[in-house]
Symmetry: C2
Subunit: 374 residues, 2 copies
């Protein structure tokens, strides 16, 4: 039987998790169905939920319960205590008022972005992004022992990693990838014209759903909606949702983002339901999470074997566009690699380069070598 | 300039309102898009938010702030203090633990209903409904001064009314309505066959939206989604949503429920945006609210003038079904009155009878003269 300390601790942790999960629902609604008039109040509501979750987590009572939760713990409970202790020691460094202020700013920035995006209005976003950077610097300053400000963020998502270890890994990857990308760029170009022939959005979405169902994504515990940027979000062990978008002139956009987000979701849907409401009900790190999304998007979803099986039904779904395109042409088109500023062709190689570039940029932004205006 | 007491009070009230409004979003999501796997955690999350909102509202600090918020108040601020004082005196009678327990039960009941409804399984619902009744009795017992247990609920929604005043109003209405309904039932029956000719759901929904836009419903501050039962819900002054449903064999179902819920929403969208986040940002009573929904549904939406203007476009939208139906036939069909167990023909007359019957049943359930099994 569970002892009183552990029971009390789990009750408190479930409240904290639920407040966070409710906040994720506010964010999901914000980017799927919320009318624009709801934006200001939504920013305020998200800030409130963020602050309440944080306040309840940094309650000294949680620290005391963690101290007394020793003795004869099950393996799961020991893992819970270990994880929560780590998160708690970090969280108590960050004041609740800061969390509320930052959450409100981020929600306000999101609202501005929804208006600035169609107008391509960077000038409107720049002061907000500068403020975001300022929040990031202030956040990093709560962890003064870190060798680089970015460590505060890496540690959050990938426990045990630092700027130094990431830089080492990336240096090794860069040595292999840069010549590889150059060689690809020097080779005869591959045509992705077959992907750009005009595909109805509804038909694209209808094609993707049975594929992720076959991968194992459980629609009784999730659903897919449309957003500007695809993402995976989770409100409980039994409610793990994904989003996608489509472009009629790019067959790959919806399809591979669906496979990608389903990869994240499969990882989350696979977690033991007994962990529902506890911090254990979450992937172990950003790195492992991304490995799962890319496993399904690329290692499966861009493989020859997968398309040998799947291509006939794609041709049936889009006969006018694909009847004259061979499996090999299609397979090459979806694996086309091209250097670009952002990840347009969501390939392993360009992605890894992209992560490296972003990591480098973020480091420079945080330590002041670079500004948003650059 | 606003004084410190008033500012502090409004800050606290906005947090309470936001927690309630977030809970309404959880409910909206539960009945629109939530996958069934999300049900259990959602019940827990709604109970948590309900308890937090209640706890924060019954904080003795709110009572002290209300006591000190005197002096030179604007008309709006005086109205705020008057309303909040009334709500506060009621709320402090109800323990937060009771609110959490009841919210969890109601969300669980909703989840069971979504499974029981398609299976038409009343046996499954009965113990849950008995428990709901028990919660209602316990709730009523927090107001022991009331002449009848139902007064605790009437007072909540229609300040100043009691079972006695409602019974008096209904007695008067009954005297006029019962002979009226009998006379209608004795008259030659009116055919509603034209409404039952098979109407595609999408086309029905597409027809309703421009009508409520013309009524003044602002889609930048709202939206319509599908649910089992239509309702209006509000997450902030700028986000007032409605839901509807459709039946292919009943043209009136979606259309009049859309007009009805838009009536509720117009009332809420018309509130001064300066009240956003405060208890003033809400209709004044259930009775006034229903008067607004029925104004648009019936006095406008079932009137000859409205359909003289609108019927040609309905015929254009559904030519195969309506080209041989005259305006007069259509007008009579949508105004057909028929005695029924539940409100199927959502007409003023049957509605008022229905409310009377429900009021009577609810009184008998609460004072124990009737049980759920009856």
């Amino acid at each position: 039987m569970e002892n009183v300390t552990l029971h009390d601790l789990k009750t408190r942790l479930t409240e904290v998790s639920d407040l966070s999960n409710v906040n994720y629902l506010l964010g999901w609604d914000q980017s799927t169905y919320m009318p624009e008039g709801g934006g200001d109040a939504r920013a305020r509501q998200m800030a409130l939920l963020g602050r309440l979750a944080h306040e309840r987590f940094i309650d000294p009572a949680i620290g005391r319960l963690l101290d007394s939760a020793n003795g004869d713990l099950s393996e799961d409970d020991a893992a819970l205590i270990r994880l929560v202790r780590r998160q708690y020691e970090r969280a108590i460094r960050v004041p609740a008022a800061f969390v509320a202020e930052m959450e409100a700013h981020l929600a306000k920035t999101y609202n501005a972005w929804t208006a600035a995006r169609p107008a391509n209005d960077f000038a409107r976003m720049r002061p907000l992004l500068e403020r975001t950077l300022e929040f990031s610097r202030r956040y990093a300053a709560f962890f003064p022992h870190a060798a680089h400000p970015i460590d505060a963020f890496i540690e959050e998502g990938d426990y045990g990693m630092t700027a130094e270890t990431v830089a080492r890994v990336f240096a090794e990857l860069r040595a292999g990838l840069v010549p590889l990308v150059s060689a690809i760029a020097a080779a005869p170009p591959i045509s992705d014209q077959p992907l750009r022939r005009g595909y109805s959005g509804d038909a694209q979405l209808a094609f993707g759903l049975p594929i992720i169902r076959a991968f194992g994504y459980d629609f009784a515990r999730g659903r897919q909606d449309l957003t500007h940027h695809p993402f995976m979000t989770k409100f409980s062990n039994g409610d793990v949702r994904i989003t996608t978008r489509f472009r009629e002139d790019d067959l790959g956009d919806a399809l591979f983002s669906t496979l990608h987000e389903a990869g994240h979701a499969l990882y989350e849907q696979g977690i033991n339901p007994a962990y529902d409401g506890l911090p254990l009900d979450s992937g172990t790190s950003n790195g492992v999470h991304e490995s799962q999304s890319r496993l399904w998007e690329n290692l499966v979803g861009r493989s020859e074997g997968f398309w040998t099986h799947t291509y006939p039904s794609l041709q049936t779904a889009f006969p006018t566009q694909l009847s004259d395109v061979s499996l090999d042409q299609f397979y090459r088109a979806i694996n086309r690699v091209q250097p670009s500023l952002v990840r347009v062709d969501a390939d392993e190689v360009t992605y890894n380069l992209h992560v490296m570039i972003r990591f480098d940029l973020e480091m420079q932004l945080l330590d002041g070598r670079l500004s948003i205006a650059d």
